[in-house]
Point group: C2
Chain length 151, copies 2
DNA sequence: GTTTATGCAAAACATTTGCATAGTC
DNA sequence: GACTATGCAAATGTTTTGCATAAAC
């Protein structure tokens, strides 16, 4: 229904917990970053995020923290249609996204049978499947209903 | 069976034809580039390609030509598992790749029912599907059979 | 001759790294 | 106090741009 549910469990807290779990120290810059990420309602880039942060927060810290968060699976990377890679809040485990090209929102793809199709297709090609990356583009319900025109 | 069939119709010629079709001029640098691309037997990057070219061929020309070729659908971009985007010779039209993470070869995915699955899944989410991007990773038959160990 | 393409150098970005300083545990 | 994280500035690497010159049509 909504872009990226930012309320309820608080994405910010999930981020901080993930850092703690992994033995990273709790620092002011990381708390600031976690809060900022928690407020993103669509995919974002490292530089884009940085522009929303106090300039006192070093560039390197942003990049280093984002890398950690991707490894911790709190963030994931999404591939836009033009080939740009952005970051996005994520739920653990393998999943895919329905990316709205209009508003930038993203829904997780659940109950998807793609895996099965890939397994059989791969076998047919003598290919030993080990992973895949899928992004789905289109318009979310809201955007489809409202702007029947718009870009 | 093979990585990217470079013989038969000659990828180089396909590239040159595509340029001609689109009204681009036939120039020496473009011919050099086409030949070099035709010799690639796996995905490559702009900079990687440039290193195989005479230094007299300007950097800008490489980038400009690659962009044209992607638009002409002679090349396509492939997303590696680590998020790197590479170029690769392509066959027109929408298709996916089985990318061997070991030798870097690529097979086109044909007879794939993914589209159908996506359509129904999207509908279930109220999502108006417009496109998708899929990459499949694993080992090609040759690599799977030979190095049962190797990286 | 007109128009397009090229090479170059510089600019614009994005990301990473070394290191001294500051903050956590 | 020991170890980790930070901010900064510089280094790296990639891609884009402006522009005068050269080549294609």
């Amino acid at each position: 229904m909504m872009a990226l549910k930012k309320r309820s469990v608080s994405a910010t807290d999930r981020i901080l917990e993930a850092l703690e779990e992994r033995g990273y120290r709790s620092t002011a810059p990381r708390r600031t970053l976690a809060a900022a990420i928690g407020q993103q309602d669509r995919h974002f880039t490292a530089e884009g995020l940085r522009k929303q942060l106090p300039p006192s927060l070093g560039r390197a810290t942003v990049y280093r923290t984002l890398k950690i968060l991707v490894e911790a699976e709190v963030l994931c990377r999404v591939l836009l249609e033009d080939g740009d890679l952005h970051y996005q809040l994520s739920h653990r485990g393998h999943h895919h996204h329905l990316l709205c090209v209009h508003c930038g929102s993203s829904q997780d793809l659940t109950g998807c049978d793609i895996e099965d199709v890939l397994v059989s297709t791969s076998e047919r090609h003598g290919f030993e499947l080990s992973g895949h990356w899928l992004e789905v583009y289109g318009r979310c319900r809201e955007c489809a209903e409202s702007g029947k025109a718009a870009a």
